[in-house]
């Protein structure tokens, strides 16, 4: 929601022979107020950048300046620019014009309805300023699958209790003085919930992947990962030093081909046999909403003696009869998967990640994983939140709210998806998956979709390059168990209207029932 005010009159002084165009986005230009005040008096360039509304302490302040120099400041001769201009072409020309569609701040908990803070811009989205006003919108973007994001009647009192007892942080690493009773309890609970022997906790999901994969495999090993894996897995694979190969997304036959070829060839150049092979897949892919073809992939890995690593960031707690993830949904025995990883951010409304595997592997990780030895332990109230959430899901809190939540999210996802299909949208993803991307394809439709929906008080997430390929832009909907049927119907109405307006209904819509009946009557 932007109010485009008229562009400020910009003084031509200090620009030299640069053609000044208002949408010139200057990553490599100005903004460096630190250059001024070095005892030389303010130059024309500094005054110029200051004139464009850069008060101290503002969240984003960027001025305009010369294109020739990198705008580091006048005393910085001999330094290469810190951000190369060429790297930022996409950012400058495309992303910053639609910047208001991303990073919208909120002022309440990310529940089914939340308050989105309004922002405005004086210079065509170069800088966005917060206001005090908020709009109550329907939340279709947060990862709140089971509705634990808001204050919950069972979880919140216990969390506050543990906060008072253990304080917000332990200020120390797990092996020093950071292991509390809560951590030990949660590790046992997670292992029981997921169906493995033991588990280990980390304070952040991203670090779990990137610090763990180097522990398990090093130079001389092979990692085969799905082509659409998350950035944390890619970083972990790169940081480990092993050779990385990619197989086509969700195609077990191609995985088999790659495995055969690699085992036969051996390590590159020396052709020695590989030390070990790990295949990394995800449970639900967050940009496609698809479930992984787990039974076939496990069968292939078993045949070729490769280890499997399953990342269940989006699927743990959200799919499956009792919330135990893709293994339960697809009928795979958890003992067949060597390492199961998951995060607590999405379905449990907390933060952090875990790894569940056999006792020996967990023992070894506790001894050597750097994220366990060097990183601050998970915050105790967050641990308590996960414990309470898992207890609710398993029904151990004495009520059936867990089962109700799971049934509701399944119903909601299936209803929403089928309605969107009927309207003619192109929706990706499998049944039962709470993530549904609506394809927009044309990147120019991204701001239209996002802003129109926000005007009608529905907050959606639109995804552009580089998270997806440039021409495969999409709007991603995340359904929650706290959405009621009325919320979903309102959302469908709004999306349908906006879809008609910008033309994203790429498939023919099914005609409504009463028309079919009258058609039949005529015949």
């Amino acid at each position: 929601m932007n109010r485009h005010l008229t562009q400020l009159k910009i003084r031509r002084s200090g620009l030299g022979d640069v053609k000044h165009r208002s949408y010139l986005l200057p990553r490599e230009l100005g903004g460096e107020r630190r250059g001024s005040g070095r005892g030389r008096g303010r130059g024309r360039r500094e005054k110029f950048s200051l004139a464009l509304g850069e008060e101290k302490g503002e969240r984003r302040g960027r001025g305009l300046g010369f294109t020739r120099q990198d705008g580091e400041g006048e005393g910085d001769q001999g330094y290469a620019p810190i951000c190369l201009g060429l790297e930022d072409f996409y950012v400058r020309r495309l992303y910053l014009r639609i910047q208001d569609c991303f990073g919208r701040p909120i002022a309440s908990s990310p529940d089914a309805w939340f308050d989105v803070v309004e922002r405005y811009s004086n210079d065509y989205n170069k800088t966005l300023h917060r206001t005090e006003k908020t709009t109550r919108c329907l939340n279709l973007g947060s990862y709140n699958y089971l509705g634990f994001a808001a204050a919950d009647e069972y979880c919140t009192p216990r969390v506050i209790q543990s906060l008072k007892e253990y304080s917000p942080s332990t200020c120390s690493v797990r092996v020093d003085g950071g292991t509390t009773k809560l951590h030990v309890e949660l590790e046992e609970l997670v292992a029981r919930f997921v169906g493995k022997e033991a588990a280990i906790l980390f304070g952040m999901g991203y670090v779990t992947n990137s610090a763990l994969i180097p522990c398990l495999i090093g130079k001389g090993g092979l990692i085969i990962s799905d082509s659409l894996n998350h950035n944390s897995i890619v970083n972990g694979a790169r940081g480990s030093g092993a050779t990385v190969r990619v197989f086509q997304h969700n195609t077990p036959s191609h995985l088999e081909e790659v495995l055969r070829e690699q085992i036969a060839e051996g390590q590159p150049r020396t052709h020695r046999p590989w030390k070990k092979i790990i295949v990394i897949v995800e449970g639900i892919y967050s940009m496609e909403g698809e479930l992984c073809k787990l039974p076939e992939i496990i069968a292939v890995c078993k045949k070729y003696k490769a280890y499997t690593y399953l990342d269940e960031a989006h699927s743990i707690g959200a799919v499956g009869q009792s919330g135990r993830g893709v293994c339960e949904l697809l009928g795979v025995d958890p003992a067949d998967v060597d390492i199961m990883m998951g995060t607590f951010t999405k379905s449990f409304g907390s933060c952090g990640g875990y790894i569940a595997a056999s006792k020996e592997i967990i023992q070894y990780l506790k001894y050597s994983c750097p994220a366990h030895l060097y990183a601050t332990s998970m915050s105790p109230p967050a641990v308590q939140q996960v414990i309470s959430a898992i207890k609710v899901i398993l029904g151990e809190d004495g009520s059936s709210r867990g089962a109700q939540k799971l049934a509701r999210i399944r119903e909601n996802s299936n209803f929403f998806r089928s309605e969107l299909h009927k309207m003619g949208f192109e929706v990706l993803g499998d049944n039962d998956s709470p993530v549904m991307p609506i394809m927009l394809y044309n990147p120019a439709k991204i701001p239209a979709f996002s802003r129109e929906c926000l005007r009608k008080n529905v907050a959606v997430v639109t995804v552009a390059f580089p998270a997806t390929p440039l021409l495969l832009a999409r709007a991603r909907i995340c359904i929650s168990a706290s959405h009621t049927r009325e919320d979903l119907i309102k959302a469908l109405e709004v999306i349908s209207k906006v879809g008609d307006l910008i033309g994203v209904k790429y498939f023919p819509a099914e005609p409504p029932k009463h028309l079919i009946q009258s058609h039949n009557k005529l015949e």
């Binding site: 990553r27 460096e32 630190r34 969240r59 302040g61 960027r62 330094y79 810190i82 951000c83 002022a107 990310p110 939340f114 917060r130 973007g141 947060s142 994001a149 808001a150 919950d152 969390v159 506050i160 906060l163 304080s167 917000p168 942080s169 332990t170 200020c171 120390s172 092996v175 003085g177 950071g178 292991t179 952040m204 991203y206 522990c215 950035n231 944390s232 940081g239 070829e261 085992i263 036969a264 046999p273 030390k275 070990k276 070729y304 003696k305 280890y307 999405k346 409304g349 933060c351 023992q363 070894y364 001894y367 994983c369 994220a371 060097y374 990183a375 601050t376 109230p381 967050a382 939140q385």
Partner: protein, 479 residues
Amino acid sequence: MASAMVNVTASVLDWVSLAFDAPTKAVVFGVPIDGHLVVEVLLVVVILFQLTRKSYKPPKKPLTEKEIDELCDEWVPEPLTPQITEDMTDEAPTLESAAGPHAIVNGKEVLNFASANYLGLIGNEKITDSCVGALEKYGVGSCGPRGFYGTIDVHLDCEQKIAKFLGTPDSILYSYGISTIFSVIPAFCKKGDIIVADEGVHWAVQNGLYLSRSTVAYFKHNDMKSLENKLEEVTRRSKHPEKIRRYIVVESIYQNSGQIAPLDEIVRLKEKYRFRIILDESHSFGVLGNSGRGLAEQCGVPIEKIDIITAGMGNALATDGGFCTGSVRVVDHQRLSSAGYVFSASLPPYLASAAIAAVDHLEENPSILANLRANIATLFNELSDVPGLVVASHLLSPLVFLKLKKSTGSDKADMHLLQSIAKRVLEEDSVLIVATKRSSLDKCPLPIGLRFFVSASHSESDLLKAATSLKRVAALVLS
């Protein structure tokens, strides 16, 4: 036989010389075609023909399906993790209360020197109240990355507060302490850039340097002469030093040794050789300097001279997460290209409000810093004559580091010795101290040792008790 060959050869030579000397039979385009021209053209044609023939290569035979099957059957992978040995089964002590200066471990009350609670903010009323308010309003988690409705107004307030406190234009919040530095370094350093780093930096920095794929040169731990030599060498070796980005990566207080980096020297060298500084202030933010603003204030260096400052908030500020601060462009660049910021869920809002309350508390009560400094001085004096151990950290560092006077020669044996000291101190005297543990992925060459984290809320008797007990146990174990 030989004469026949000679005859044949002679006749062939006669023919050739005849053809060579044949008179001009025709004129083509004004060029008389002499006999020798015909012979030369024929020779050239023969040469070209030979050149265009492919050389003989043995035919390639790809593996048949059956052979691939056999290879796959024969291949035996290593086990995923190595065999579990005795020293891998050590369990960490389990706390049953908050990690303040007095904690409860296994039912007993102990003196806690294992938490980096430098300002004593664990258990502070105001911080707990602000957290409770945040929990009731926002819930626990933020359920989304910063780009997709995970930005809550407390995050923006916290960023502004930290920037104002330090005096920099802007700052950016990360959701975990160690992910800060290993996301920042690859965001600014790419392949082809030059980095000069201290050899004693901790694992997260090493990981960031590795992921950035730049050329890294290490200098001797905290040795400014070695740094100058390295900078000189690196500048001389590169062909166009002004066109590549060059960085010096140091920590303010090194986790692995407790030494403090001499920032004024480093800034002088940086300006001489035109490098940029990336400074990791995890253990010095809120501790060093008259008002807790960190190493720059301590050394009297203006904050603008340091290009990038990162810190984890899990130490002095008694919350979790991290931040990075610098010029506006440095911060803005990270919002789109820093992996740990873009691809990860944001910091839980109650931790951000705890950070704001902690910085407020520090601004209002600068006397805690005086307490902390007095405590560090006391402990430093007391620990200066422990039998068998020597204090290796700086006298201003709240992380007091003791290493063995005489190492046994093997890391494993050293580790065993130190851990037995720590265990005995805990069991017999109820003082919780820790021996540093090294991961197998850590390449730091510095020796391991015992660590004491001094807090402003430790009392004098606590410090004396800890020192006496360590002296007693060290005398027993190391004699």
